[in-house]
């Protein structure tokens, strides 16, 4: 899991007050925590990091788009919740890869991508995305 060689390229993710506000409105929230100059980020806002990712910064799950499902998503805050004005250093990697038998005699593929968020060197948040490759049609049934 800490095999640095397999990590994608790190990049900076600036946390902007206006971006938090737009995201909070899209999730129909009027919670004061998400508005103002020192707004904190809602958990799902961390996915916005990807729009700042340069080439080579995304961990490749390798599942063809036609079979791709987003199975699970997890967000964890460690220490202070990131807030407007922070610049987070983001890095991700494939943290787990396994298969399960599908219901149609094929195999379902699971890939977990972990994304780490650091503020001034300290890990402040983690995100885990579980992608599922649906079983391909059985060819020799």
């Amino acid at each position: 899991m800490d095999d640095v060689a397999e990590r994608a390229k790190a990049y900076d993710f600036p946390i902007e007050q206006g971006a938090i506000r737009a995201f909070a409105l899209s999730m129909q929230s009027d919670n004061p925590a998400y508005f103002g100059a020192d707004a904190i980020v809602p958990p799902a806002f961390l996915i916005n990091a990807w729009r700042w990712a340069p080439e080579g910064a995304r961990a490749e799950h390798g599942i063809p788009r036609a079979r791709l499902l987003h199975g699970e998503q997890e967000f964890e805050f460690i220490g202070d919740v990131p807030r407007a004005g922070d610049v987070l250093r983001v890095q991700e990697w494939v943290s787990d890869r396994f298969e399960k038998a599908g219901k149609r005699g094929g195999t379902m593929e699971f890939v977990v991508v972990t994304t780490e968020f650091r503020n001034a060197g300290e890990i402040v948040a983690l995100m885990r995305s579980t992608f599922i490759g649906r079983e391909a049609k059985a060819t020799n049934a």
Partner: protein, 136 residues
């Protein structure tokens, strides 16, 4: 602050919707998920769907709104969701939550809750868990 939640405590339910394509578009813009499946009807129909449908993360974000309003956005430490069913335009979504564990920590308590976002059909579109740090 508030009294310490107890196992079995439930939140007042919150209803979102009826959902509209405009809501999906707003989430697309705010999240950067520009997959046309969620706002381009021709694109969705060509892919074999009856209409556009919501991003799973959009529904998950609505559930996080509910969770944060219940036990405190600043105190939310972990939020986990599983995607179970598709949310369509016109759907009415009900959020519910129940405290499943309260554990002592060095600085207070860690409160664990189960969460669900349920369509008007009764099917859960999102099942989730969340953890909050409570000073009490």
């Amino acid at each position: 602050m508030n009294a310490l939640p107890r196992v079995g405590d439930t939140a007042d339910e919150r209803v979102f919707g009826p959902m509209t394509t405009e809501m999906f578009v707003r989430y697309s813009g705010a999240s950067g998920d520009l997959n046309p499946m969620h706002y381009d009807r021709d694109f969705a129909e060509k892919a074999g769907y009856p209409s556009v449908f919501s991003q799973g993360m959009h529904s998950a974000a609505l559930l996080s709104t509910f969770a944060g309003d219940w036990l405190g956005a600043e105190r939310l430490r972990r939020f986990h969701v599983r995607f179970r069913d598709i949310v369509w335009p016109g759907d009415v979504l009900t959020c519910s939550g129940e405290v499943t564990d309260v554990a002592l920590t060095e600085s207070g308590h860690r409160v664990v809750v189960s969460l669900a976002l349920t369509r008007q059909t009764g099917a859960a579109a999102i099942l989730g868990t969340a953890e909050f740090d409570v000073d009490a």
